[in-house]
């Protein structure tokens, strides 16, 4: 591995490319940054906003590694290169042309809106000595270690139990001693219990009541057991890639629809194809993830989980190219939400037409380290929601109609007056709407 051993100096580690892109858009519209002096902290921000999608400090990305670039190039050259590299190349600068060709002719954006101070700040930042990442830093997104085991107090319970047993024996002893003192015959616990049982068994009222209670309890339990057959609530299988919705949807606020794009238009929400993963993971290989202790989780190597994406699609992370004629291996995810074939469910109906938030059925996905089935997905659960949820009447389907004809909203109002128009009222409980 010809991997640079230079320690990581920056702290923008787990920022996703998406977020970076947003910031690029925001920052690039600003003409003059407020700070007009050379400042490595400012440089860091600018670097993140403008440079990070193509450059890293310690290794090649789309462009060369920039750590210590000031030692390799003169400041004046760097200024003109960064400001407008195409003009510099056009001027016939040999270095500029050489570096352009070295990187396969990929064109670097011109940054004419950056002042000299800005550029110098960035350069100052690239020049900063490598510092160990500070734990708890503002930008740091620690990867939490999941499933911290609860404190084990079983031993304590055993000890308490032992004490209680000893205490009971002592009390019985005392009772028998008192009985003997009183002149009665001492009885053992078993004899007491037998006497009680015989009295209870011979008591018809008790037996009737007990039979009823036991039967009802049994049937109740049986009913709920049977109702639970096929209900896979909390199903949480181990996935082939330890994908964390918390990191993606929670910490980095990636929109659900970015990956599950077909949820808006199709019956399936769709599991993103590997090329969608690569939109971000072409740049984010997980080598910068820090653990709770603040150390690099994979010692600067790429994350083995992200490496699985590369293995699936055939991405050569060293040379940053797709391997030609690679036999791609699709990722075999384990399906969580398994509706039976007899039920038809359509995501678009709920997401686009019904404007139901993903979390309504899928729960707090943004907090789930490992995805699990949040809802019961039983028919009763569906029906309850259809009974309560109001129809989105603003949709043109209900609100508009051809000239001179009644809209569905008007017809509904004529029938139900001021009542809340739930899904049930437009026929959302009818069998054939979901079963065909």
């Amino acid at each position: 591995m010809n991997r640079s051993k230079t320690p990581i100096r920056m702290r923008f580690f787990a920022t996703s490319a998406l977020r970076a892109l947003t910031i690029i858009l925001m920052i690039s519209t600003l003409t003059n940054p407020l700070h007009a002096e050379v400042d490595a902290e400012l440089g860091k921000k600018l670097f993140k906003a403008n440079c990070a999608s193509c450059h890293k400090l310690d290794k090649k990305l789309v462009g060369p590694a920039l750590g210590g670039v000031t030692e390799r190039r003169s400041e004046a050259w760097l200024l003109s290169w960064i400001r407008n590299n195409a003009a510099l190349r056009a001027s016939g600068d040999a270095d500029a042309i050489a570096i352009f060709e070295e990187y396969g002719g990929s064109v670097m954006t011109a940054f004419e809106n950056l002042s000299d101070d800005d550029i110098q700040s960035i350069l100052a930042y690239t020049d900063m000595p490598a510092a160990a990442p500070a734990p708890g830093g503002k930008d740091l997104v620690p990867v939490p270690i999941s499933n911290v085991p609860a404190e084990d107090n079983t031993t304590l319970l055993y000890i308490l139990g032992g004490f209680l047993a000893l205490f009971t024996v002592l009390l019985l002893r005392i009772r028998n001693t008192l009985k003997e003192v009183h002149g009665d015959t001492a009885t053992t616990v078993i004899q007491d219990a037998n006497a009680l049982t015989q009295w209870l068994v011979s008591n018809k009222r008790f037996m009737t009541a007990a039979t009823i209670v036991v039967t009802v309890a049994f049937l109740y339990q049986l009913f709920w057991f049977m109702m639970g057959v096929g209900v896979e609530q909390n199903y949480q299988p181990v996935q082939p890639i330890a994908f964390s919705h918390k990191i993606h949807a929670g910490d980095n606020q990636v929109d659900c629809n970015y990956c599950h794009s077909s949820a808006r238009s199709s019956k399936h929400s769709g599991i993103p194809s590997t090329n969608v993963c690569m939109n971000c993971h072409m740049y984010i290989d997980g080598s910068e993830i820090v653990n709770e202790a603040g150390a690099l989780k994979y010692a600067g190597d790429r994350s083995p989980e992200i490496a699985k994406i590369y293995a699936a699609i055939g991405w050569d992370a060293e040379n940053r190219t797709y391997i030609e004629n690679y036999e791609q291996k699709p990722v075999k995810w384990i399906r969580l939400h398994n509706l039976p074939d007899l039920a038809y469910f359509n995501h678009a109906q709920h997401v686009t037409a019904g404007q139901v938030a993903c979390q309504t059925c899928h729960g707090p996905v943004e907090e789930m380290e490992v995805m699990y089935q949040y809802s019961e997905l039983t028919m009763g659960w569906c029906i309850n929601c259809h009974r309560e949820t109001e129809v989105k009447k603003a949709n043109g389907y209900y609100a508009n109609a051809e000239e001179g004809t009644q809209t569905i909203n008007e017809r509904l109002a004529a029938k139900f007056h001021d009542e809340k128009i739930t899904v049930e009222k437009i026929g959302g409980l009818e069998c054939g709407k979901c079963h065909y």
Binding site: V229, S273, N275, Y436
Partner: protein, 1014 residues
């Protein structure tokens, strides 16, 4: 007084033999066939299943099922690695394409889901022959036919393409050196790319010979048109300018451009002033004949003379006319009068493959001034170009041993032409580029798979004004290679099939992406054919043709070949085509000769209904010249001309696949390339079991199909006299069936109200809707035996009724009692009128099925539909018993698993399963099913509107049956949408409900049939 007399059941018991003892002990005389019901014959094996065993199995399976239900299987969900842009999982993608199966051509849209073609839909408006007949609908299943050839085969052993191509090159080179012929045998070629390939083959090899062969030949007819117009092509028939069509045996509603023809025909058959009149002169009762206003029976040998007679009448000439029966002659007098009255606005068509007849028909059209007006010679149709003379020459060459190399592309002459198989023996090298190891390919030295039309690129020029493009909608399933690429390598052409098509599109000056998107493009025709010249030539040659026609041999019995939905037999291995009962005879899974009742009586042919309702018939042997066909079942067919038989081609395959092999008899074996001929018949020993889906033939005087003549219709357009609504006398006075009501009405005003109108005037009975319904709704195929048991699963059936000569009025006149009258009514007339009526679930608003379901599995929706929840159904079948329309279907077996349906049910096959519609549940054993009015399409259509935020537009979506109907007989929509087509139809004077008097208030209604006669 008590007696101790003992009653003996038989001498066995008296002797107390072992048998009678055993019988006394056993409850049943024979074992109950438990395995039959348990379905999985293998599991049970041949074990004797005792009741205790049964209970054990029952207990075990209940426990096992409970346990199994607790543990869910792990389901993998595998996304694409790189998802294609055009595909969204769960959403259909449509591709415009062109359908060909070696017989038909149609412009179609292919619906794909997750990269699998699952449905064929009509192509863009304006494309040539857009629409889907039964074969086009079913063709998607032929793609997934597991009998397709998967690998190149050489001498019966699998090999690779390089071997095949190397061998071919060597063989061609050897033929060049030895001076032997290199013959290419194909079906009709109307692909510009393929034509240019053939041209360059001809240039490169002077020993090259190309033979085109159509299974059902039009060779002589094409010869006639070539002589008349210079183009070996048939003229376009234009119904728009016609008031009268007279067809002599041409079944144009079931022909090669049926989609186009049926649409134009139906458009001109809208009731009202100037409605097209249709006279059919024929021997077999064809689909066209069944739709005719007037039908005249004739023997095939008389057609030429009849045409000559008509020609004399309309042109005043004096051609020689052969002998005509008095009935035919008087009928021809009337026909001639009508034709003269409609000069220039009439069409005379002729069926079969007789040059003389075709020439005479052209002459009649010429005399009437129809050439250039209703028959467009400037728009020739190239779909047929088979040439029997060149085939005969080649067969002679083959027998003489002068053919060195023979390549067959999509042609199966060993099946359709007797003698070809023997002639092949002397060919040095033969290669069949084929979709399966058919009758010819299995005789060839080598065979290699070509892609299905849904897997390949191709271009077509079906008519001079249109270039159609066919594009792949799935990757080739097997190791196939387009024929154009294989043969291209012989002339050093390395272009892919796609590049061939691209080059053709570019050569026509068309935009590639637009042409591909539309499935084709209109091109300017450069036809030099002149209608007036053709007319002059036609009339000049008429006397010669009439002489030939008089020489036509008649006989006591003549056989006319015809085509059922299976067509010429290219798609014989497609079970959907067999499962669809014949529109006329209503028999499925068979071919048979159709015999008139009188001939049957004379010949001793019997059709007998068995005690279970099924039909058995006699077997006969047919002889035409030197060719004999044995074991032909005979079916008595009302409307069949006396002295004639009909027999469908496309059956009797021996090497097509497990569905087709051994089904029916091969009519081609009688060697009647003219389509008809004299036969002799002998009744054989034995009986044949038919699978017929309809017991009753007539309506027995009830108003099931309402019918009116055009004259009556015009006289009273309000319909009060001919479309009387049933009424009831109640204490509140006379009320309509809708008002005589026990129930509370459903709210059908607030949301949508889906209704369907079926125009009986437009329905031709072709059955494309039934097959479309099968595809769309995953309707299981049940096979012949189950259909014979009346357990067919069609959600939509097309009832056919014959008129009877008996009527209530006549019974009064003849003083017949009720029983006698109804008995007589059951017998169809000798020349009956025929009506077709598609019947599906009527979606009653007061549905009898709903009230009797003990578990609420069938319930009403506020959108006017009768829902069916399969998972609630416990299979009591009360609903089916209470349904007045008999449209509910019960799953007697698990058709997808049960071994007895392996050979017919496509869902039992890994390939066949790919055709299933993923939006529709596959039903299991023990549940009821029925038409849902394509609720998956309704839900999809509504959702698309909601996604777009727009109100639902009329016609935004429709049901599969309505979409498949070329004539537009089925209209579907929301009656609550003002001005919707279905609302207009509902308010039409012709509309009526089926069995309205029952008070079911159906959502489906019918439009009265109007016959254009006085």
């Amino acid at each position: 007084m008590a007696t101790d007399k003992v009653y003996w059941k038989g001498f066995d018991q008296l002797a107390n033999s072992e048998v009678s003892q055993r019988m006394a002990q056993n409850e049943f005389a024979t074992e109950i066939p438990m395995e039959q019901f348990l379905g999985d014959d293998k599991l049970m094996g041949n074990a004797q299943t005792s009741r205790r065993d049964f209970l054990k199995y029952l207990g075990f399976s209940t426990a096992a099922a409970t346990l199994a239900a607790c543990e869910s299987p792990i389901v993998e969900s595998i996304p694409y690695v790189v998802k294609p842009d055009s595909l969204t999982p769960g959403m259909p993608t449509y591709y415009a394409s062109a359908y060909t199966d070696g017989q038909d051509f149609a412009s179609v849209l292919v619906k794909t889901r997750e990269g699998r073609p699952i449905k064929i839909e009509p192509g863009d408006e304006g494309r040539f022959n857009r629409g889907t007949n039964g074969r086009a609908q079913a063709s998607v299943l032929s793609l997934y036919d597991s009998a397709r050839l998967r690998q190149p085969v050489k001498a019966g052993v699998e090999t690779d393409w390089s071997t095949i191509e190397g061998d071919l090159k060597e063989a061609v080179a050897a033929s060049v050196t030895s001076g032997k012929q290199f013959v290419l045998v194909t079906g009709s070629v109307f692909s510009p790319s393929f034509k240019s390939l053939i041209a360059s083959l001809r240039q490169n090899y002077n020993n090259f010979n190309h033979v085109e062969i159509d299974a059902v030949s039009s060779s002589e007819v094409l010869d006639v048109w070539e002589a008349l117009t210079g183009a070996r092509a048939l003229p376009t028939v234009d119904f728009a300018g016609a008031d009268l069509v007279v067809s002599f045996g041409e079944d144009f509603l079931n022909g090669s451009t049926a989609q186009q023809m049926s649409k134009a025909f139906a458009d001109r058959r809208k009731p009202g002033q100037g409605m097209l009149r249709h006279i059919q002169v024929e021997s077999n009762l064809s689909l066209s004949g069944a739709n005719a206003d007037k039908r005249i029976k004739i023997k095939p040998s008389e057609v030429g003379s009849a045409l000559a007679y008509v020609y004399n009448k309309v042109s005043g000439s004096n051609l020689t006319v052969g002998a005509l029966s008095a009935a035919v002659q008087s009928a021809m007098d009337t026909v001639s009068k009508e034709l003269v009255a409609a000069k220039g606005r009439s069409i005379v068509m002729v069926g079969g493959n007789s040059g003389a007849n075709a020439h005479l028909a052209a002459a009649v059209n010429a005399a009437l001034g129809n050439l250039g007006t209703t028959l467009r010679v400037d728009q020739p149709i190239f779909i047929r170009s088979g040439n029997d003379r060149s085939l005969a020459n080649t067969m002679a060459d083959m027998k003489a041993g002068s053919v060195g190399t023979m390549v067959l592309v999509g042609a199966n002459p060993a099946y359709v032409r007797p003698g070809f198989a023997e002639a092949m023996a002397k060919v040095d090298y033969s290669l069949s580029l084929t979709d399966r190891l058919d009758e010819t390919a299995s005789l060839c030295g080598a065979a290699a798979p070509v892609p299905h039309y849904l897997e390949s690129w191709a271009d077509f020029m079906p008519i001079s004004t249109e270039l159609a493009v066919s594009q792949p909608t799935i990757r080739p399933l097997f190791n196939s290679k387009p024929a154009i690429e294989v043969l291209g390598s012989l002339v050093g052409e390395t272009k892919s099939a796609k590049d061939w098509v691209k080059a053709t599109v570019a050569a026509k000056g068309l935009s590639w992406s637009q042409t591909l998107h539309d499935g084709g493009a209109t091109v300017s025709a450069s036809s030099s054919a002149s209608a007036s010249e053709a007319a002059t030539r036609a009339m000049a040659g008429a006397s010669e043709a009439a002489k030939t026609a008089t020489k036509m041999q008649g006989g006591d019995f003549e056989l006319a070949l015809y085509q059922k939905t299976v067509g010429a037999g290219n798609q014989s291995n497609n079970p959907w085509l067999h499962e669809l009962p014949d529109p006329i005879s209503r028999a499925a899974w068979d071919n048979y000769i159709t015999v008139s009742a009188k001939d049957a009586l004379a010949l001793g042919i019997v059709n007998e209904t068995q005690s279970d309702g099924a039909l058995n018939g006699s077997l006969v042997t047919l002889k035409a010249g030197d060719y004999t066909l044995e074991n032909v079942p005979a079916l008595i067919q009302p409307g069949q001309a006396q002295g004639t038989f009909g027999l469908a081609v496309g059956y009797g395959r021996t090497s097509a696949g497990r569905v087709a092999d051994g089904l029916g008899v091969n009519a081609y074996a009688l060697n009647l390339p003219q389509g008809s001929g004299v036969v002799s018949i002998t009744v054989q020993e034995g009986e044949h079991e038919f699978a017929s889906t309809q017991l009753g033939n007539t309506m027995m005087g009830r108003k099931i199909v309402n019918e009116v003549t055009l004259a009556d219709y015009m006289a009273d357009q309000s319909g009060q006299s001919w479309n009387e609504k049933p009424t009831f006398h109640t204490m509140d006075g006379t009320v309509s069936a809708n008002d005589a009501n026990l129930w509370t009405n459903h709210d059908h005003e607030t949301m949508h109200m889906w209704n369907m109108s079926i125009d009986l005037n437009s329905c031709t009975g072709c059955g494309a809707c039934v097959i479309a319904c099968h595809l769309e709704n995953n309707v299981p195929v049940v096979g012949k035996q189950e259909i014979r048991n009346f357990r067919d699963m069609h959600w939509l059936r097309i009832d056919r009724y014959y008129s009877s000569d008996m009527s209530k009025d006549r019974a009064d006149e003849e003083n017949l009692g009720g029983i006698d009258m109804y008995a007589a009514m059951e017998v169809p007339g000798e020349s009956p009128d025929v009506v077709f009526q598609p019947v599906m679930c009527q979606h009653c608003n007061h549905a009898p099925c709903e009230t009797v379901c003990p578990v609420g599995a069938t319930v009403h929706s506020r959108e006017g539909l009768n829902h069916m929840a399969y998972n609630r159904c416990i299979g009591t079948r009360y609903c089916a018993n209470n349904c007045p329309y008999k449209v509910r279907r019960f799953n007697w077996f698990n058709y997808q698993k049960n071994e007895r349906f392996t050979s017919v049910n496509p869902a039992q096959d890994d390939y066949g399963r790919m055709v299933l519609n993923p939006d529709v549940t596959v039903r299991s054993r023990g549940v009821m099913e029925k038409c849902t009015m394509c609720i998956q399409r309704i839900q999809y259509g509504k959702l698309e509107a909601k996604k777009a935020g727009e109100p639902l537009a009329d016609g935004a979506f429709t049901t599969a049956c309505a979409q498949a109907c070329d004539t537009g007989a089925i209209t579907f929509g929301d009656v609550n949408t003002a001005g919707s087509r279905v609302q207009v139809a509902k308010n039409d004077a012709r509309s009526y409900h089926l069995l309205e008097e029952v008070g079911t208030q159906p959502s489906v209604f019918y439009q009265t049939k109007v016959r254009n006669r006085a």
